[in-house]
């Protein structure tokens, strides 16, 4: 489904990695390893199409993602370093706007349910600038509950989360994989995840 061929990343004068190949099928989990500055985030951004590879290509269902941006984006969920959450808007508003922008029509109940499930019950209507770092992250994570994207690309999803939330997110990822979804993620934390096929790409090698 997702295929990477001969990918090369150059930042400034540094070549971070070159000749990277891998494939990811439905139900597979891919963890990127590598020290700081090894190009994990750059690779994730290339997989999303935010960053143009210096060399090589990223294919989705056999075609370059840049040639089918709208179709690919409809099946992609990206959670970056920054939460993508507006500080002046409440958690509920953030989620509602995000859903409308993605072209999904969900009723308010579903949004409130998702926020409650992610542990923000009672705080849905606070501006997110009044929330803690971990709670802001949870607002961003609530998108995972309402999404039916096939490919999740998560950049350090566990940062700022407490133990309970880490376990919950791991469960979410497992459930997504069981439904035949794909997940690519990076983390420096060791989190146990049961997945059918767990693969690793180490950028330090």
């Amino acid at each position: 489904m997702l295929e990477v061929r001969g990918l090369e990343c150059v930042r400034g004068d540094h070549r971070l990695f070159t000749g990277l190949n891998f494939q990811l099928q439905g139900g597979e989990l891919l963890r990127l390893r590598g020290s700081n500055g090894s190009g994990k985030t750059s690779l994730l951004r290339m997989l999303c199409g935010l960053l143009e590879p210096a060399e090589g290509e990223v294919l989705w269902k056999g075609a370059d993602i840049r040639a089918q941006r709208d179709e690919f984006n409809a099946e992609l969920l990206y959670l970056g370093h920054s939460n993508g959450v507006k500080a002046e808007l409440t958690g509920f508003e953030n989620l509602r706007i995000n859903n409308a922008l993605c072209g999904r029509s969900l009723v308010d109940e579903q949004l409130y349910d998702a926020l409650a499930e992610i542990g923000l019950g009672g705080r849905e209507d606070l501006p997110t600038q009044a929330l803690s770092q971990g709670q802001k992250r949870r607002v961003a994570l609530a998108r995972l509950l309402l999404n039916d994207a096939a490919l999740w690309i998560l950049d350090e999803p566990f940062t700022a989360l407490d133990v309970k939330a880490v376990a919950q997110l791991a469960k979410l990822i497992e459930a997504h994989l069981q439904k035949g979804g794909m997940v690519v993620y990076t983390t420096h934390q060791e989190v146990e995840m049961r997945a059918g096929a767990c693969r690793e790409v180490n950028l330090d090698e």
Partner: protein
């Protein structure tokens, strides 16, 4: 979980959501909007003090003064168009939406114009009166601003997108965008000048309208391309 297919209505819903989002944000940060407005008022009010309090002189320069002030005010607000979204990561998310980026850009620019352009148009009669313009000239000036300020926002969006994340981007935007504002300024003030000296002004308005159509069609594409480059 409901699966929403991407259809035309959903594109319109996304378009509307983007406008509502930006208007809500502007409402929660009213100070930013008011700053632009006060800037506009103060710049225009400086001229009677600096040039001459003579009504005849003021009437002569009024269209130009108001237009230049509107130009500067609309540029002042450009910095906010994308930079906040860029910093909190919502811009990245916008680039990854399953909707054509240029259409969303157009929504953002429209919201920006509603917040920073329309108030200038609405305030201009007051400032026109202050500078001694008569009724007809004031109405015409409002009309030119109504046609011209959207063009300023549209052209400005390209500059704002190109200078995203650049240090000292605010000054750079002025250098990039001000030269492109010149035609709008010339025909905007030209229409009012022509009317006050009893000449035809329809040609000026038609040209402003043409600028608007051209800018509305082309600049969203350029802005979308510039955003993709800036976010890399």
């Amino acid at each position: 979980m409901s699966k929403g297919a991407i259809t035309q209505p959903s594109l319109f819903a996304a378009w509307r959501a983007m406008i509502v989002r930006d208007l809500t944000l502007a409402m929660r940060r009213r100070a930013d909007v008011l700053t632009t407005l006060f800037f506009f008022i103060i710049v225009v009010s400086l001229f009677p003090l600096g040039v001459s309090p003579e009504m005849a002189v003021l009437r002569e320069i009024a269209p130009g003064v108001i237009w230049v002030a509107a130009l500067l005010a609309s540029m002042l607000s450009l910095g906010r168009l994308f930079s906040d979204d860029y910093q909190d990561g919502t811009l990245e998310q916008m680039l990854l939406l399953p909707q054509p980026l240029s259409v969303l850009v157009l929504a953002k620019v429209l919201a920006h114009w509603l917040v920073s352009g329309v108030p200038l148009v609405l305030l201009s009669p007051l400032l026109g009166m202050q500078l001694g313009l008569d009724g007809d000239a004031i109405i015409l000036m409002m009309l030119t601003l109504l046609l011209g300020t959207p063009v300023l926002s549209l052209i400005g969006s390209v500059g704002a997108a190109l200078t995203l994340g650049v240090r000292g981007g605010g000054v750079l935007v002025s250098l990039l965008v001000l030269p492109l504002y010149i035609p709008v300024l010339i025909f905007g003030t030209g229409a009012v000048d022509a009317a006050t000296s009893g000449m035809e002004f329809e040609g000026h308005l038609s040209l402003l309208g043409a600028f608007f159509v051209l800018a509305a069609l082309l600049t969203p594409l350029a802005t979308a391309a510039a955003l993709r480059i800036s976010v890399e």
